[in-house]
């Protein structure tokens, strides 16, 4: 416990120094942490992601159009059964 009461911790200048050192360390960690996580950055930069999105959208749009057509076919059957 002696060390806690030593003169260094009472000195505001020392505390300030430690504080800034920690702040610097924290910012350097966060700055470094960003590129450390591998993401598909190059793939996106090349614009190839658009090709993938394009293919998926065409397929899903096709499936959704089919859903709409299916829905209307059922509706037609319903109307044939219950002409109102």
């Amino acid at each position: 416990m002696r060390s806690l009461h030593s003169h260094r911790f009472r000195n505001p200048l020392y505390i300030q120094k430690v504080f800034f050192a920690l702040l610097l360390l924290a910012t350097s960690i966060t700055v470094q942490a960003q590129p450390a996580v591998e993401m598909a950055d190059q793939f996106r930069a090349d614009g190839k992601i658009r090709v993938v999105v394009g293919v998926i959208v065409i397929i899903f749009a096709g499936l959704l159009v089919y859903m709409i057509r299916l829905d209307r076919k059922v509706k037609k059957l319903e109307e044939d059964q219950n002409p109102s």
């Binding site: 993401m39 992601i49 999105v53 998926i56 899903f60 959704l64 859903m67 709409i68 829905d71």
Partner: protein, 219 residues
């Protein structure tokens, strides 16, 4: 267009989910990397399943308060499409787990709870298949459905929160807190959940209408 507004809305939201889900910015997270985008699709299956099973519960209660075989039909179809969505959720989850947790199946309480819930609903279909009389079948399966729903909520929504889980939002934390989902992701996540719920309801709607047509042509 001769089609309901909510179905068109669902179609638009599905396309939005796919485009924004793949092209939007996501936080750079270790281990997960780009797979965090699975949140828009994998979790969507669970939302869809929950919404359908809730619909199933509503029609089961409706049947018990006022016996009508159409309510029974709706409850049955919602349960079966919800089950289908649950299987898709399980399969997508297993694939995702293999590449983030290292195994297709971990002993995560959420996974085991989901397996139990799916089995509970499987029992609902077996129960239905075991009865010939439509009225008896409807009444007994409606009562069972309430039980299955409560069991599912306990096993998927309550128990995993009480123990440690690999899933976010479990182990005492609220789901989708600020650390799990950032602002950018919310803009895609919420519309995505509405889109998948809408998709489930759309399929349910068509299934019920076809079954009703079958009934009216046979009688």
């Amino acid at each position: 267009m001769n089609i309901s507004w909510w179905k068109l809305g669902t179609a638009v939201l599905i396309i939005y989910t796919l485009v924004a889900g793949l092209m939007g910015t996501v936080p750079r997270l270790v281990v997960l990397n780009e797979t965090i985008r699975n949140l828009y699709y994998h979790v969507g299956m669970w939302f869809s399943m929950l919404a359908l099973w809730t619909g199933s519960l509503v029609f089961s209660i409706k049947y018990l308060s006022k016996p009508d075989l159409i309510s029974d039909l709706k409850a049955h179809k919602a349960a079966s499409i919800g089950f289908y969505m649950g299987i898709l959720g399980l399969l997508t989850g297993m694939l995702w787990a293999q590449f983030t947790w290292g195994r297709f199946w971990t002993n995560d309480p959420k996974l085991n709870g989901t397996a139990i819930s799916l089995l509970a609903y499987l029992a609902y279909f077996v129960l239905r298949g075991s009865m010939e009389d439509p009225m008896t079948r409807a009444r007994i399966s409606a009562v069972y459905n309430i039980f299955a729903f409560v069991l599912m909520i306990v096993f998927i929504q309550v128990l995993p929160r009480l123990t440690d889980s690999l899933h976010p939002g479990n182990g005492g934390n609220p789901a989708f807190g600020e650390y799990d989902l950032d602002r950018q992701m919310r803009l895609v996540f919420y519309p995505a959940m509405i889109a998948w719920i809408g998709m489930g309801y759309w399929i349910w709607d068509i299934r019920c209408r076809i079954e009703k047509l079958k009934i009216s042509t046979s009688s």
